[in-house]
Symmetry: C2
Subunit: 220 residues, 2 copies
DNA sequence: CAAAAAACTTACTATTGAGTAATGTTTCGT
DNA sequence: ACGAAACATTACTCAATAGTAAGTTTTTTG
């Protein structure tokens, strides 16, 4: 069996050479750990959490199963990391527009675009199709908190948009649920070889959410 | 252990007393089979497909595992039946409005209401959260066909609504995907004890889809 | 170079859970 | 009542797979 290869050891941004920076060995360790997590994400994506064995994941990496356990403590942890990696991308999108001066609707659109890209990514499956049931109580609770934070963020943007007049008044709870559902579901049908890029899908969805089904009198 | 109890043996509609109608015993058999399938749906709903064992399902019914196998041939088949039961409710909604003279948008709204009720039902989980991965190629293909039929039905309604002027022109493929995603996702968050009924949720969703986020000039 | 730490391997254990064989017990038609 | 079909049980088999123990090779460092 081969060694675990690092992903193009591209000087993983060493900000301030601060006091106790992990030795080169340690940096390799965490880089390789990421490689393992990504391989797990792909395996879960392809076969589902329960149908993807750790042997599968190890084989995909060209290493043996205990090597995987050398980098990660359990299968549950592996799922958790994937979960978190996906959710983090959405949270980043929310943070990015947090203090923007633009109207609520434009900021919400921006968040939708980030959201769609995250869900269409290799971690999309884990965020969306993995069951909380497969995580223990502690990790499950942690994920729930992250999801709740995302929900709050979207509702706040809706609220602000309504207040600044860029969004039609509506039930923000149900609207946020509907939007999140539509976006999450992308993970079920989007595939790499799709003709549309995630960004294009996102734009289409923005249009659907914005316009609505009822005909609009085009202002002559 | 107790016997498997039939659900209020309410004369399961014996249409034409045709030649080879199964004896009363057989009618009991299929009734009990339904009971087993529903118990499976609840178990899958509560613990997920892989975490719910056939022993669990049997225990919930107060019988032993081989009794379950007396009514259904495999766990896969059990999942398939749940899947199908849920999808059938949606298809029924589509059929109901098929030859209605009403405008496209109103018919689509009606379908959305049926859809939401189906997804909020005990079979909702199976339709939405179960992986195709867990079904063999034949059954998986069958489910795919049913899902494709539902998708076609929704797109057709959108097309007809656009043609008759009751729906704003849009990308019908993406719009159908977004609507189906939002509706499917209901299965993830809706719980029996929710203050809102499925019908109320459906109405809220209809409003979200119809109105859109962009402010509408209220026609003075 | 040699000792020590890190990275991996082979070869296991142990559990879980789907599915079955053989057998016992109700219920029904006659 | 009584034989047969239907219904249900106990007690298994068997495969898959998460996780581990103990040892081997590679790399780093003094």
């Amino acid at each position: 069996m081969a060694r675990l290869t690092c992903p193009s050891t591209a000087q993983a941004s060493t900000p301030g050479g601060s006091a106790t920076w992990p030795s080169r060995r340690h940096r390799n360790h965490s880089l390789k750990r990421e490689v393992v997590v990504r391989a797990a994400a792909r395996a879960f994506n392809a076969k589902g959490f329960h149908n993807a064995s750790l042997d599968d994941i190890a084989a995909a990496l060209g290493v043996s199963k205990p090597t995987v356990y050398y980098y990660v403590e359990s299968k549950e942890q592996l799922l958790f990391e994937c979960f978190q990696a996906g959710l983090e991308r959405i949270r980043a999108g929310l943070r990015e527009v947090e203090h923007s001066p633009r109207p609520g609707r434009e900021r919400l659109d921006e968040v939708v675009r980030h959201y769609a890209e995250a869900v269409a990514s290799e971690f999309g499956w884990c965020m969306v199709r993995a069951e909380d049931q497969d995580l223990g109580p502690e990790l499950s609770l942690h994920i729930k908190k992250l999801k709740a934070e995302i929900d709050r963020g979207m509702r706040r943007l809706l609220d602000e948009g309504i207040r600044d007049g860029s969004i039609e008044p509506c039930d923000t709870k149900m609207t946020a649920f509907a939007m999140a559902g539509a976006l999450n579901w992308i993970a079920h049908w989007y595939r790499e070889n799709q003709p549309m890029t995630p960004a294009q899908v996102a734009d289409k969805f923005v249009a659907v959410f914005e316009v609505g089904l009822l005909p609009r009198r085009t202002p002559a």
